[in-house]
Amino acid sequence: MTTRITARRSLTVLRHNAELYRHLVRARIRAQWQYRTSLTFDAIGSFFLTFIDFLVILALFQHFPRLGGWTLHEVAFLYGVAGLGFSLCDLVIGHIENLGDMIRLGQFDTVLVRPAGTLLQVMASDFALRRLGKALQSLTVLIYAIVVLDVHWTFAKVVLTFATIISGSAIFASIFVLGACVQFVFIGSSEIANAFTYGGNQFSSYPVSIYGAWLRRIFAYAIPLGFVAYFPTQYILGRTDDPLWLQLVGPVVAIVAVGLSIVVWTFSVRRYRSSGS
């Protein structure tokens, strides 16, 4: 009986939070829409800027047919999935890397006294539409890969593709949150997180098989970046580099990663002491 009441109450809280988030984000979007031209140019700019990463892949593939056993088109698919996961996460939560500034300027103290979740407020503090430029670029590469690859599509593969993009986003989001927690301890250290967020995006854009044992252990498993694109992509492309369970377990890994990051965040916020100025 009591469990049912608690369940219903937490559902109400969840619904309330979702409503609040939607409301705040709509306001952010409306604000940016006032400067449409500037926004459009920014998005177009980042669309082209992010093509540089793919240009590197193209330049390298001029000199050989396969990298780590993967063809250019397969790497393009991998790149698209990883990039889409990263950029959607970046859109929703990427600005958490400015947490150090929020703490320094005392804005985080404002967050603490408001009657809403801290993580929710930090997430809703921005929604930079220009980041859609990178999402669009990744999508372009992904669609190109799908067109040229001749994948034997099944229902399971379609579901896994969408699930992978979402769980990839979730894994990146948990890295962003954990990186922000470091800033509670070392203010001015926002760049440390970059090694694993932007670095993580770079890592997951290539087949994991090309990295040495140590990089693989740290980046593909300990930080579960292998599940962002590499393992599930094998299932979709019909590759057998790794065992089947590893190819399918991505969404579970994402849920664990998000849970862990929320626990660490809650702990960090509870320990937080304002600088007081």
Binding site: S38, F41, D42, G45, S46, F48, L49, I52, D53, L55, V56, A59, L60, Q62, H63, F64, R66, L67, G68, F186, I187, G188, S189, S190, E191, I192, N194, A195, F196, G199, Q202, F203, Y206, I210, Y211, G212, L215, F219
Partner: protein
């Protein structure tokens, strides 16, 4: 008051040519020293940045090693594994020194209007920023330049120069690279006088700099015709040129000569653009 500042700044522009006399050399030195100290205050940021540079070094090294292993001859564009690794760690070392991702200090001052005060000061605007940028580069060289290269040398076998002379030419080449990069950044920043928004221009600058300077991949990896064209463009001089000198690629005197030409050309362009911008500048307020 709406006044055209040409009269005042005209004087300072003339004084600029007097950068060589003892007084202003001393002044430039003091400016550089203070900029060095200003950067040195952000210690946590330096350590964090160093950490990230190094992690990226490992990631990029892994990609290049795999690429060379995949290439039929084991070499790409004249790079073997050892050279490619040296290239990777050199770029990680130099990217802050030559400010690959640009900076917008002047652009922001144009946007806020502070530029009017800067231009009214009794010394050359270009020389003032050049001196400060030398201080910045010196700090980045010591704080962010040495550690990545040492890390690379600890974990991999790198191709270090065999003669002391090459080290001297390498440092000389880095200095020229800083000047070219400064000239380009100065020009990009001044364009804000016309566009009023720095984001668009700096994005174009970033694309050109990343691709044409050899930051993302050695220029020699591009198809031959493109690589030859890039070699004579200014962006190449800002990063790939010192790496070429370090690795002994191409004729070192030629590389240095092209760098020196571009250093002079970018500074002259910067100066000409500054004069045009000053003529355009209308100070409003009061």
């Amino acid at each position: 008051m709406i006044a055209n500042l040409t009269d005042i700044v005209g004087n300072s522009a003339r004084r600029e040519s007097g950068l060589c006399n003892v007084g202003s050399m001393r002044f430039a030195w003091e400016l550089a020293r203070r900029e060095f100290q200003r950067y040195a205050t952000y210690r946590a940021a330096t350590v964090a940045g160093l950490f990230t540079n190094t992690v990226f070094g490992f990631l990029r090294a892994a990609v290049l090693i795999a690429a060379l292993r995949a290439a039929p001859s084991g070499r790409i564009g004249g790079y073997g594994t050892r050279e490619a690794l040296t290239y990777t760690w050199l770029t990680q070392s130099l990217l802050m020194v030559v400010a690959v991702w640009g900076w917008n200090d002047i652009a922001l001052r144009v946007q806020t209007g502070d530029i009017a005060t800067d231009l009214a000061r009794p010394y050359g605007f270009l020389g003032w920023w050049l001196a400060r940028d030398c201080g910045r580069a010196a700090y980045q060289m010591l704080a962010r330049g040495i550690a990545p290269l040492v890390t690379g040398a600890v974990f991999y076998t790198l191709a270090f120069p065999s003669s002391a002379f090459r080290w001297v030419w390498f440092f000389f080449s880095i200095m020229l690279a800083v000047v070219v990069s400064f000239g380009l950044r100065f020009i990009v920043n001044l364009l804000v006088f016309w566009t009023l928004d720095w984001r668009g221009i700096s994005m174009i600058h970033n694309v050109l700099m990343s691709v044409c300077s050899g930051m993302v991949v050695p220029v020699a990896f591009f198809p031959h015709a493109i690589a030859s064209a890039l070699r004579v463009l200014p962006w190449y001089q800002a990063l790939q040129a010192p790496i070429d000198v370090f690795l002994g690629k191409g004729s070192t005197p030629t590389v240095l000569a092209v760098q020196a030409l571009w250093a002079a050309a970018t500074l002259l362009c910067a100066r000409a653009l500054l004069q045009i911008a000053q003529r355009r500048l209308v100070v409003q307020g009061g």
